[in-house]
Amino acid sequence: MTIQCPTPKHEEEVVLLGHGAGGRLTAELLDELVLPALDGAPGPLEDAALLPGYRELVMSTDSFVVSPLFFPGGDIGSLAVHGTVNDLAMRGARPLALSVSLIVEEGLPLAELRAVLTSLGKAAQAAGVPVVTGDTKVVGRGAADRLFINTTGVGQLHGSLRPSAALARPGDAVLLSGPIGLHGTTVLSTREGLGFESDIASDSRPLHRLVRTLAPIGADIHVLRDPTRGGLAATLNEIARDSSVAVEIEESAVPVPEAVASACDLLGLDPLTVANEGCLVAFVAAGAAGDALAAMRSVDEGSRAVRIGEVLPGGPAGRVTLRTLVGARRIVDMPLGEQLPRIC
């Protein structure tokens, strides 16, 4: 038997889809290209930024390019509101106002645009945040995928709530507000016509009211993040890195809905790396964890909140581990890039 292996050559001078997937490739793009060009301030990359010169104000921007435009549990319009509201909330802020910018591809039926914008308007109203400015551009056929939406939000900090990805401390409890994997598997199944749409719906929803319930706990809420692209695995890795701590979670404690587990099994995906749009991770001082859980469970968005792990007293900084079902321990790595369904 001859033993040989190929030598590949790598070509990387173009942007790959994986650069936008929220994993290691995205981090590389930010670190090596985007941030140096913008002369960004050093420090952790948060979901929203404190507005320089204004101690109470927070700002965040996000672009939504989801395909298809409509999916079970939501659409690009409501998602554009929820995404930015949640980014503000993860910094401990309540949303004050949004801007909405549309990039529309020539040929998009007006009825679809109307449906998206109606949904966006309803979502903004339901969240209690006005859309105060906006912009509309139309580009030629093929220059965009039907419709892209950018939303920017400004928020105001709640009381003494000052969460940051850099504030996780040894002993902190890791809390999760609800089941994971619903948004990513729903969008993928709808896009690819895999036929299990009826079993599954996106968890897209605003989380600012959930965060408001945590406000009384104040400074004991160390980190708040919503695990969107890259899923729980990417979010925990970012927090572990930015806080220089070791995090451990218990596999049996992480709520993975049966439909998500089935879809991930079918597609060969890991639920820990699948996107969410309606749950958050909170790192809370051990002594306040019970109160935080009770507060989260007092509202619908957090009714199924659970404790999934802790920040270890020691251990290598930046490392995330998982206690498996059979009691072994393995590292949860940062996902690389695009999630690619496996062959069989």
Partner: protein, 367 residues
Amino acid sequence: MKYLDEYRDPVLARRLLGELRETATRPWRIMEVCGGQTHTLVRQGIDELLPAGMRMIHGPGCPVCVTPLETLDRAMAIAARPGVILTSFGDMLRVPGTDTDLLSLRARGADVRVVYAPMDAVRLAAAHPDREVVFLAVGFETTAPANATAVLQAARLGLTNFSVLVSHVLVPPAMTALLDDPDCEVQAFLAAGHVCAVMGWREYEPIAARHRVPIVVTGFEPLDLLEGILMAVRQLESGRYEVENQYVRAVCRSGNTGAQEAIREVFRVTDRAWRGIGALPDSGLELAEEYQEFDAAKRFDVGGLCPVEDPQCIAGAILTGARLPTDCAAYGTRCTPRHPLGAPMVSSEGTCAAFHAAGRTPTRSTA
């Protein structure tokens, strides 16, 4: 029946591990043939909880890993042609060829698309009569029936713009080649449940008898694997060498005869080169004479290909279970999922990728 929970029950898992520790009196070496099983073993850390000295050897059953470099280079050369839509399963897109991979090719403008079933490629061909739709058809006996059905459907529809680049491989010849190797350490096999769901296990009976090796048809959930290992160890401890079936909920001895019929209709057995391992006689499938018109290799003359192999990567030794990923000097340094040198680091089923995803390092690995 709940779909998955009962095969992932932590209490049952620990009970099976306890039973295994009580049963095993020697440091047995068992190979799981399938990459999907490797994935579960490593992700759950099952192989690290086995009785002292006992070792799982990770076999050559990752279809992505064993697809020859020449086939990948050919697929990329075809994909680069104007008017072509190249389709395949997702994890083929990141596999490094000699010069590039399909994802990079797509970023440069080639029309490379992920499909979830080969029939999707047929539908694509019917919807785009002005384009050539090529399906890169790789995998073991598991994926062969669906690929055969796609060819049959394309023939029924009279599609002249659909073709397949076939590189199927077969499990029993690989097991036989491993056992014929005088350095082989494998004392028992876990056979891949999904392969047996298609083919049954009759083919394995002469292998078990001739090589006096227990073979247990096993599923892919944590409890499946623990039970399969326990069944193999019980055979080893009692000196038996039979084919047993742990995966009774999905597999019967004769397999799926309809699927086998589709394979026989569309394909014929041929010699096949396995990436990292080399040529094995009668170990692959190619299109039968009647379906040559659907052969992408014949339809597209891409000229001479020069696949280049790297002597530093030990993927071949890893695919045959002779070495562990952590034995490789390039593992985790030159070779990572971000920069894979060899195919086992690419696919989620690849042994190197499974080790890397689980954070295995030379000091933490077992064996």
